[in-house]
Symmetry: C2
Subunit: 336 residues, 2 copies
């Protein structure tokens, strides 16, 4: 398609002509470590500014075969923690000279389309921001030699860098707190079944309880949503003995539990104690005061980006996994 505007784009040649130097000099003027005398560099930059010249990153990408694109693919979720992560990761990438190509992954069918874009735009690294999707993107990216970072998702056959919380130690902290506070019966409200976080948390919870001599915790299937937490309480109430410690695979369900408990005139924290994951901003609100296991999201974002860049720089590097400790934020929901 032809240019519809009459404006001519200003190239390094235009600057060169006006500055009385060669095009290469202009190019070097914009590459800090290129050999060029301070004097001419200053002159060129001056002329460039007057002309309103901006280097064309696309052309640069073509010749250097470095696009400086990082693809971020985020799954559908309304858990605010993923938005937090997105923000933290993006800010981290913005500190470098890389750009974020952002993709929203809806139902599975869209994955092929996203993959196509990632390949065609020669994205140098991919960050996966969801806990419960297939690992197809990881697979295909690896096939093409594109380094991958998975946040919040464990892979056994991981050909990807992985940054996630230490769920096992997290649930241990939760169990210990429950026991220390005198809760004697236990329940787990599960998140989506194909979520690796949920799997680890559920297994860890049951295992650690067994180690503590508890063999019959109630397990209710939820789906990470507030509503599923709300409904879960009714199932728990039907079978629980009190005081009962309820661990939820995320905060949203924990908040649902609390509201349902109030509606059932179960007392928190006397009759039931609740612990969630992720420390959503709502959890600190006075009506909730939900005890939560908080991930060091900013720290994890930093590490993830760092590791991904290492993989990009050194393509022979083996993918690695980093576990981060939760911080247990004690609030009223366990304050017996």
């Amino acid at each position: 398609m032809p240019h519809t505007t009459a404006e001519k784009t200003i190239t390094s040649r235009d600057v060169a002509r006006l500055a009385g130097v060669s095009q290469s000099a202009v190019s070097r003027a914009f590459s800090p470590n290129s050999p060029l005398s301070d004097k001419t560099r200053a002159h060129i930059l001056q002329v460039a500014r007057e002309l309103g010249y901006k280097p064309n990153a696309i052309a640069r990408s073509l010749v250097s075969s470095q696009t400086r694109f990082i693809g971020i693919v985020k799954g559908a979720t309304n858990n605010p923690m993923f938005s937090e992560l997105l923000t933290a990761i993006t800010e981290e990438i913005q500190k470098t000279n890389y750009q974020v190509l952002y993709y929203e992954s809806g139902p599975d069918q869209t994955l092929d389309d996203i993959l196509e874009r990632i390949f065609q735009y020669r994205v140098e690294g991919v960050i996966l921001l969801y806990a419960n999707l297939s690992s197809r993107i990881t697979h295909n990216c690896r096939e093409l030699g594109i380094p991958v970072l998975q946040m919040q998702r464990y892979s056994t056959n991981a050909q990807a860098n992985v940054v996630l919380p230490d769920n096992e130690r997290g649930v241990a902290m939760a169990v210990d707190l429950f026991i220390r506070k005198g809760y004697r019966s236990f329940a787990y409200v599960a998140g989506e079944m194909n979520s690796s976080s949920n799997l680890e948390r559920q297994m860890g919870f049951l295992n650690h309880l067994r180690d503590c001599g508890v063999n019959d915790p109630i397990v209710v299937q939820g789906d990470y949503s507030y509503d599923s937490g709300y409904r879960a309480l009714q199932q728990i109430a039907a079978r629980a003995s009190y005081p009962c410690g309820i661990l939820c695979a995320n905060d949203l369900m924990g908040l649902g539990i609390i509201d349902a408990a109030k509606a059932s005139s179960l007392r928190i924290p006397q009759d039931i104690g609740v612990i969630g994951f992720d420390d959503n901003f709502m959890s600190s609100w006075p009506v909730y005061q939900l005890t939560s296991l908080k991930q060091p999201t900013v720290e994890m974002a930093k590490k993830g980006v760092e590791v991904l860049f290492q993989s990009i720089t050194d393509r022979t590097l083996q993918p690695t996994m980093y576990r981060y400790d939760f911080e247990l934020i004690e609030r009223n929901s366990t304050n017996r």
Copy 2:
């Protein structure tokens, strides 16, 4: 920097050689409307698949001077509505053959950096996703002829396309509901002062109240946060007569109001009625049941993207503004 991997990148020439055609034929094979016999096209695509060839979008951009990038700049906020908007807009763009370059705008100093990236990567259109930042990006983009879409933010000198809710009619609906339900005194909890949404809502509320013969509503300054809403109630309680209808510039503050009211043993909706904006997902939770003015975010995202693309296609087009009606979601917080 030289390639660190030994893998050679596969180009259209490689495909051409193996398929026994010219490079131009390969190029045409991947452009649906280019003249090429079905037979050779099929053959080329077949060979391309075998070789694992993917067209290089960067090179394509260079020659066609169409990057197919849309820049999205999102402001710092933890209002979930902006995440919703981001999702909706991104999905809409993904239906086209454009890519999203995503930027997170922190404090004002980062704007220059973001602008630099937008220009250097030859972004074809920019979407601004915040209500309370300066219009510097809009200005600079217009100078360079880049079309801009502002969501949620009105500009008087708007050289930008603008999509936002009809705040005036929204507050009118709120006032009418309050009056119909019998609230006789009124208060407004303001959002950040440099937010255009807040300005319109505040002015509209006061004006429409005056039209209804109410001249002395209480106005409390908040900052869109839950906490500021919580604190606002105390100031309102000190001066209000009951029943009092409180309009909040967003839901988060409304939720704060509700929690604070409960703590002060003020009854909702008998003593005070609360209406917020944006219908956050928390607002429908049973403990809150906050009446809210909901924006048709998906519809607005669609229109915004559509308008932006029109501006990109026809650069002579004058920027336009679109107002969308709120939907009043009545819940218990006004159910006197």
